[in-house]
Amino acid sequence: MNGTVVKNQLIFDFASGILGPAKSLFASTYLQINSNASRISTTFENILGENLINNENIHPKNLKYTDCINSNSENTKSITNAKDPVTSFFGNLDNLDWKQVYKGFKEYTATIDDKDELKLIKMDPGVSVPLHSHGGKEYILVLEGSFCDEYGDYSKGDIQINDQKIKHTPIASKDTGCVCLSITEKDVIFFGKYGSFLNLFTFIKSFFKPK
């Protein structure tokens, strides 16, 4: 599957309302800062709206239009949050308790109950990440600055999706560094009698990933 199709899949799944919380936050941020993605999403919502018009009828048994007019407004709380999703969720990024992974590379992992892991990544200007590959699929969205790797340049609003096959060496822009939002689909976690042993094994193995 090529990258564009995977990006569209993310947008379509978001428009359909079937993403988990981590990917929803990721996708809504993407649409906020990438006008092309936002347009694709609008088009797809229009297609789904057409589906609604042409949908079959299953008449509600106990509902009249007057019930809707007289309903209390409690359930229709409007969304008044004008901040962007990242700021609303994480607050001011400067105030976060960033964890330094190595010099010039910091990350902050969101506490969010989901099978996918949501992280912020901050790279100082010119810092690079050693060649690596990924356990699960990884989505990266540039929020500020830019980075480049063997596959291209990525700046604000650009998204990169990596699967296990991809090995790359990202380097943050010399002038600006970069801040990215990332999603990692978690590795398989083992359960059951030997689970903890297998998990320990995966943990140790992760230090010996092919370079």
Binding site: A15, G17, N51, L52, T66
Partner: protein, 169 residues
């Protein structure tokens, strides 16, 4: 819709209700929500249409699209509230689907685009889009219902996504 926005015309609303209520209700049931909850949700959607009619802008989107997005957001809310996942106080659902002000497509342009896409997709592809993205059925379920192998469903959906890419820009 204008009559609702400007004159709070209840009769105009009742027409929108008559047309959309059974379709919205069907949407929730297709998304595997039980009928007592689906009716409650349908009521919430149409109450929102009535109470928040001032938020609708016909220049920005078709009425059906606006109503679909309200219904979808109610569905997301419903599943989150009923899921086993514990959400922290900092619940993110509040701001996931806010209005995007930037670069919304003009309605005419949107209509043209839908027309092109509709012409490009054959009946079976349209059914697959509906099953996958509107009714949110799993690929396995789609395979069972259409009586075709799972691999075929996956490759056809991939094909649709690739095909649509050409018209989405």
């Amino acid at each position: 819709m204008q009559m609702i926005q400007e004159d709070r015309d209840e009769m105009a609303f009742s027409e929108i209700f008559d047309f959309f209520a059974p379709k919205i209700n069907a949407y929730f049931i297709q998304n595997r929500i039980k009928s007592e909850s689906s009716e409650e949700l349908t009521q919430e959607v149409l109450s929102t249409v009535w109470l928040k009619s001032n938020l609708y802008d016909s220049k920005k989107s078709a009425l059906s699209t606006w109503i679909f997005t309200i219904a979808r957001n109610k569905k997301v809310d419903f599943f989150r509230k009923n899921s086993k996942i514990n959400f922290k106080e900092e619940d993110i659902r509040e701001f996931l689907y806010q209005d995007r002000e930037v670069d919304l497509i003009e309605e005419n342009e949107a209509k043209k685009q839908i027309e092109i896409i509709n012409n490009e997709l054959d009946e079976e592809q349209k059914i697959m889009i509906k099953m996958n993205f509107f009714e949110n059925k799993s690929h396995k379920k789609i395979a069972d219902e259409l009586e075709i192998p799972l691999g075929t469903v996956k490759s056809r959906i991939r094909h649709i996504l690739t095909k649509m890419q050409r018209y989405l820009r």
